[in-house]
Symmetry: C2
């Protein structure tokens, strides 16, 4: 009987030409695994053998295998070759339910901002913390809980945020939430119930924030942006301001100290609330990060942080540090009961207090810094018309382009299987800013093995 | 130097008399641990020594120690005695933040319905499943995810619900949510957006459901309840019906088969939606549980299930099985992104597919059945005026009382440190039902070691 993979090349229906070849091969293999044509445990032909079979370059096959190993469809072990993953793999979200559809093409490389390097999630350390947390938790911790979140986590966060970000808080001011979006939704509900109408936002940012606030019945109005950062001077009519002071997203600059003072003055003068979105405060590479704005006035600034960039979005854990009265209202808006799983909360508390979080952040900082340095060097050398701007921080850079080229660069990247975002999609529709051509390049997203390929693909589409 | 516990008896300020002695001692010890007067690791005097020191019964001290071990403040090991737990214990929710306040008195026994026996949460099996799930998950599972929840969990639930509850579904119809309340909130939002005004509910149920629906702008109207269960005949003006068909909460009876048919007829005739709250369908002790109502008409019945009773509320995991169109609307109402932590979702999927869930439910069924039998026997023997009604199922019984006695029994229980709920708090304010005097006794809540004490305390307050 022939080996099950003997006919693999024939079965794959790959057109062995053109720039989309690797992606086509990856999709075809994924389909074969999903449909069951390649059963779990099946050993795949070597990349050399399949390449010969298909008449294509061996590297293309090796890259496709590597992508699918990273995605969990295949496993690769020294001496045992590449095999179909033993565990039943369920189609990823967004794919169709039936057994034989063709998966939507995934990009070969992804440099969109928003996610950290998920391949470096500290699985072993997290499991160790989970074991310790669940073993020592009192039984009642597993019951319906305080809407503010587990006290162990709020105590750990209070210590960490005070030490690492200069936040002034105790555990009673903290409310745990299921990601930044959930926190913003709760704040929107409370602000609207207080009679608020308008939240001033930055000229550049995520449009989903506006949609979340709109769902609570709040309008957003963009504030001007200049070389000192966002200018709160024009916020006279707003009930609250939402900003990213430590590292403006996506422009990549910190808010100037004069503007920080102006923000707090605005809040004191008008009674408005400042919402500080501190999404990546852990990651500054050239110096100590600037402290949280909240430290200047804890009764007028809400500090929002998240584990989505420092650990993984899938944890769905974020936190708000609030003035006491507002903490009560937000807890009530949460429905009077905790909505975040206690096991992950207890695990994160253990992760913070044991020092595992600091160790993980230090390692991640080093890895991201190297990537950023490589990106700056590659762009400088290979695409002198483009220019990296902003501080050495976070998981993304703003890459300025020659005027009028943004859209065509994004389009060219798309055709080459490189997912890339231009600045246009992060510009508030009502912003009165001069249009800037730029890319918002997220260097956290690719796994390590795909990083240099992603960087090459980027340089290839930049104006030379 | 004196042993740190040498002065413990003096320090505790316990009034060594009266029925509240055990609770007073427990509170005083808890305060001493929390305030740091008893440092982590400190060995406590033997129950014999402390009892002599305080001039009270040794059992009272032993019981207080056992309570605090169960709560996690103390640890007890053979040969090592009873010690203050090594880990910093953060005050449980609801207690004050400062170091020296007196904790609000906890009831000595808790027979309120709503929570399972948390001491029997399968910690080791859960950790094993978590390890397997996190070790084998693809990296992208840790990213922002499908708002319907992880595909692995939806696939596992589809298989389980079809096998165990007769639900007709595929993974595409399932949306994971953070507990039943979260699911109901999402459904309320969607129903209101579709133009719904009124949801008919049962005459007996949880008032929080009405509050959740009211927050979405929906009124609730109670349906009559008779010996066949809830009567949907009067629901002509409602846009949806919310019911507990398998085991009415709190009345403890299943919906009669004629009423099941009438419900589906109502939905077909009016285009209304039936919301089936299947909160404890796993636990039937005398026969196979009645299948899900959803099986009769998957396009008009939404099935809601939860891990809160079968595992623990702290997981914050529940699920809805929805008509396809509604599944899309609910996913959109969730904010277009998953809000439940993926690690617990992957773990529950592994727990279900590995058979660990079935094993756990079987063991829990046996334990709860024994408790229910003991409760029925004790009430029959010791309180002949009270009568257990309803089927052998779930985690609670309805205990009928002589007319006019409910309030005084609940009050008497309160004074004896027994938390107990009367039927009055589960009666819809607009229900036109004859008042029934009864207790809703949750026998799942106490840990094993407190169960017989709780049962004794209950019998002591029942009319003899």
């Amino acid at each position: 009987m022939a080996e099950p993979w003997a006919t693999l090349g024939i079965d794959l229906h790959v057109e062995p030409t053109g720039p989309g070849l690797r992606r086509g091969l990856t999709d075809a293999l994924r389909d074969a695994v999903r449909s069951g044509r390649l059963a779990p445990g099946t050993r795949l032909p070597s990349s050399r053998a399949l390449a010969a079979d298909l008449g294509i370059a061996r590297n293309t096959v090796a890259d496709a295998y590597a992508d699918l190993v990273a995605e969990g469809w295949l496993t690769a072990r020294q001496g045992s070759g590449t095999r179909v993953a033993a565990r039943e793999v369920v189609p990823p979200p967004g794919t169709a339910p039936h057994p034989h559809p063709r998966a939507p093409a995934r990009p070969a490389y992804d440099l969109r901002p928003g996610s950290p390097d998920l391949a470096s999630f500290p699985r072993a350390a997290w499991l160790k913390a989970a074991r310790r947390a669940l073993t020592t938790a009192p039984h009642h911790a597993l019951d319906y809980g305080d809407p503010r979140g587990r006290p162990e986590l709020r105590a750990a966060l209070a210590g960490y945020l005070s030490r690492a970000r200069g936040v002034r808080t105790d555990p009673e001011r903290i409310v745990v939430c299921a990601g930044f979006a959930h926190g913003l939704k709760l704040l929107g509900t409370v602000l609207r119930a207080r009679g608020a109408r308008t939240v001033a936002v930055e000229s550049y940012g995520l449009d989903v924030h506006g949609r979340i606030l709109a769902a609570s019945g709040l309008d957003t109005a963009p504030l001007p942006f200049d070389r000192l950062g966002t200018d709160p001077g024009a916020a006279s009519g707003a009930d609250a301001l939402l900003l990213t002071p430590a590292h403006q997203f996506p422009m990549g600059v910190p808010l100037h100290r004069d503007r920080r003072t102006a923000l707090v003055d605005w809040a004191r003068r008008t009674g408005g609330l400042v919402l500080e979105d501190d999404y990546d405060g852990e990651f500054r590479y050239d110096r100590q990060p600037v402290g949280a704005l909240q430290g200047l006035d804890p009764d007028r600034v809400v500090h929002l942080g998240t584990a989505s960039k420092s650990l993984a979005p899938g944890l769905r854990l974020a936190w708000m540090v609030l003035p006491p009265r507002l903490a009560e209202e937000v807890a009530a808006a949460k429905g009077g009961v905790d909505t975040c799983g206690v096991l992950d909360q207890l695990t994160l508390a253990e992760f913070l207090t044991s020092g595992a979080y600091d160790r993980h952040v230090r390692a991640a900082r080093l890895r991201y810094r190297r990537r950023r340095d490589a990106l700056v060097a590659a762009v400088t050398a290979r695409a002198p018309q483009a220019r990296v701007t902003g501080i050495a921080a976070g998981l993304h850079v703003l890459l300025r382009l020659p005027a009028g080229t943004e859209q065509s660069v994004v389009q060219a990247a798309h055709w080459r299987g490189l997912a890339l975002h231009g600045l246009a999609r992060y510009t508030h529709p009502a912003a009165r800013a001069e249009p800037v051509d730029a890319l918002v390049v997220g260097y956290g997203t690719p796994p390590d093995h795909a990083w240099s390929g992603a960087l090459d693909a980027l340089c290839a589409v930049l104006p030379g």
